[in-house]
């Protein structure tokens, strides 16, 4: 462990997080199973469920930086800022994706089984959330796009990074942090592809906006998706810089 970056130390940091802050790693899977068990048989919108629980893990990671006593403890753990950031990213992405997929399978199977028991129906488990074609959000709405699980993860990762940015970047300004966070959530939810579709269809209904017909209807969500994927590593880099410059 002589170099400035060591995967062994990243492993030690992950182990530290899993043992010292074990509650979210037990609580989040349990709550996700319950949520998926309820949502899947009813074909309900599961996005908020994933966003919400996806934030808990990174929210806990850098929360101590807001307090000078615990920040001293975190910042002086013998590991580089890059290793600390990497451990958090792995827990927020790889670990969270595994937790979500696993809990979706368990929750959906259990939920559908219970649903069939109660209603006496013979409904099949709806796997569309994790299938390539994706699921219809608010299925009754004919203009809704199909949302794939990766779309949800992409937004979750962006939200995770934004909450980290707020936690590391601002000092003792809780109201500003809360306001910033809520604003960001609203903007991001509004910026999702299905909202674009809705707005797009609404605009094109009006004949005075014929110019818009020249744009390929599918191009806007694609661009949003690409930008969404590009934003994630950029935000990681910004958060790393903020962590490197973090002082008490």
């Amino acid at each position: 462990m002589n170099s400035s970056f060591s995967f062994q130390r990243v492993g030690l940091l992950i182990k530290r997080n899993l043992i010292e802050d074990y509650i979210p790693f037990i609580g989040v899977p349990v709550l996700l199973i319950i949520g998926f068990a309820w949502a899947t048989p009813l074909n309900a919108d599961i996005r908020l469920l994933v966003y919400m629980f996806g934030l808990i893990i990174p929210l806990r990671q850098f929360a101590p930086l807001n307090n000078s006593i615990s920040a001293t403890h975190i910042l002086l753990i013998p590991s580089s800022n890059a290793e600390k950031m990497m451990a958090t990213i792995l827990l927020g992405t790889v670990c969270f994706v595994c937790i979500t997929l696993l809990t979706f399978v368990i929750g959906s199977l259990a939920g559908t089984y219970i649903f069939n028991l109660i209603t006496g129906k013979d409904t099949l488990v709806n796997w569309s959330f994790i299938s390539n074609q994706g699921m219809l959000i608010n299925g009754y709405n004919p203009i809704s796009p199909r949302i794939n699980i990766w779309d949800i993860f992409r937004i979750t990762f962006i939200l995770q990074n934004l909450i980290m940015l707020v936690q590391i970047g601002l000092k003792d300004k809780k109201l500003i942090k809360l306001f910033g966070f809520l604003t960001t959530i609203i903007i991001l939810i509004l910026a999702q592809p299905n909202v674009y579709y809705t707005l797009f269809n609404y605009i094109t209904k009006d004949s005075s906006h014929n110019w818009i017909d020249s744009i390929n209807k599918t191009s806007i969500p694609t661009v949003v998706t690409i930008i969404g994927y590009l934003i994630i590593p950029i935000l990681w880099r910004i958060n790393y810089s903020l962590l490197s410059n973090k002082q008490l």
Binding site: E20, I69, S70, L75, I77
Partner: protein
């Protein structure tokens, strides 16, 4: 001469604009010594320790901590530093788990030493949760852990706060035994009596700068600490304090007499007449 551990060159630091906390700070500390960092409240003792460990960054000037720029917080540096803050963080782990999680970050950590230090501090159960312990007990565990890390540099901010009287004596014994030619210890404290017969160098901060940094040997060579029944006012007297025992005085040691260092008296003498003390030690 032992290895240089800390070099601070013309460092300026401020938390807020227009309020200079530290200015023109210069300091060199070497391995093999236990330094006592003394100063009134708000003089910047804790901030100095934070600057050395990279928790805050200087506005200007250069700091070298065991050969590294502390603001980079490189693991190669951090694994050779143990910082015991005045206020301890909330740790929801048992002592055993704390050791299991944090010891691997310190390559020279010695588990047997840790057990021995805990035993000396009369902390017998490693299954106790740290957040369930009293502040004093928690401090004992972290002092024991810090000593067992065998890091080159140990920074302790008010380590004896919250310790009972026998534990303070135990602390002095343990620290004295733990110092080696490769290690350097900086202890910041208000409770100067707790450092009696422990430290071998004294750093005093006054007016947001380091006004005094001398080894004990030098101090007792140049200054005479005495108690007299009469308030003698000859030219050699630098500082006098009226106490129950009589007039405690700090004088110039012109006759090269041996005397026992009184840290509190020295501190008051430096704060009261720093110009004269500076002149005397620059000779």
């Amino acid at each position: 001469m032992n290895a240089k551990m800390i070099t601070i060159d013309n460092v300026e630091f401020t938390y807020k604009k227009n309020t200079q906390l530290l200015s023109g700070l210069n300091l060199e500390l070497y391995a093999g010594h236990i330094h006592g960092l003394l100063g009134k409240n708000g003089e910047g003792k804790s901030t100095l320790l934070k600057l050395i460990s990279g928790l805050v960054f200087p506005n200007s000037g250069v700091i070298d901590t065991i050969g590294f720029n502390p603001i980079k917080r490189k693991p190669e540096m951090l694994r050779e530093i143990f910082f015991l803050p005045e206020e301890l963080p909330q740790i929801l782990l048992s002592i055993e788990k704390y050791e299991k999680i944090y010891a691997p970050f310190y390559p020279k950590f010695n588990s047997e030493q840790f057990d021995q230090y805990l035993k000396e501090f009369e902390v017998y159960s490693k299954h106790d949760k740290l957040d369930k312990l009293s502040q004093g007990q928690k401090k004992k565990v972290l002092i024991a852990f810090g000593l067992a890390t065998n890091t080159k540099l140990l920074l302790m901010d008010e380590p004896t706060n919250g310790l009972d009287i026998p534990s303070k004596a135990q602390f002095r014994r343990m620290v004295a035994a733990a110092i080696t030619e490769e290690r350097c210890l900086v202890i910041s404290t208000h409770q100067v009596r707790d450092l009696d017969s422990l430290i071998d160098g004294i750093i005093i901060m006054e007016g947001h700068e380091i006004v005094f940094n001398e080894p004990i040997e030098n101090i007792t060579n140049k200054l005479l600490f005495k108690v007299s029944e009469n308030n003698e006012k000859d030219e050699t007297v630098i500082y006098t304090e009226n106490t129950i025992q009589g007039f405690c005085q700090v004088c110039e040691n012109i006759s090269n007499k041996d005397s026992r260092l009184d840290i509190e008296l020295l501190f008051n003498a430096v704060v009261t007449d720093k110009k004269r003390i500076k002149q005397l030690f620059s000779k």
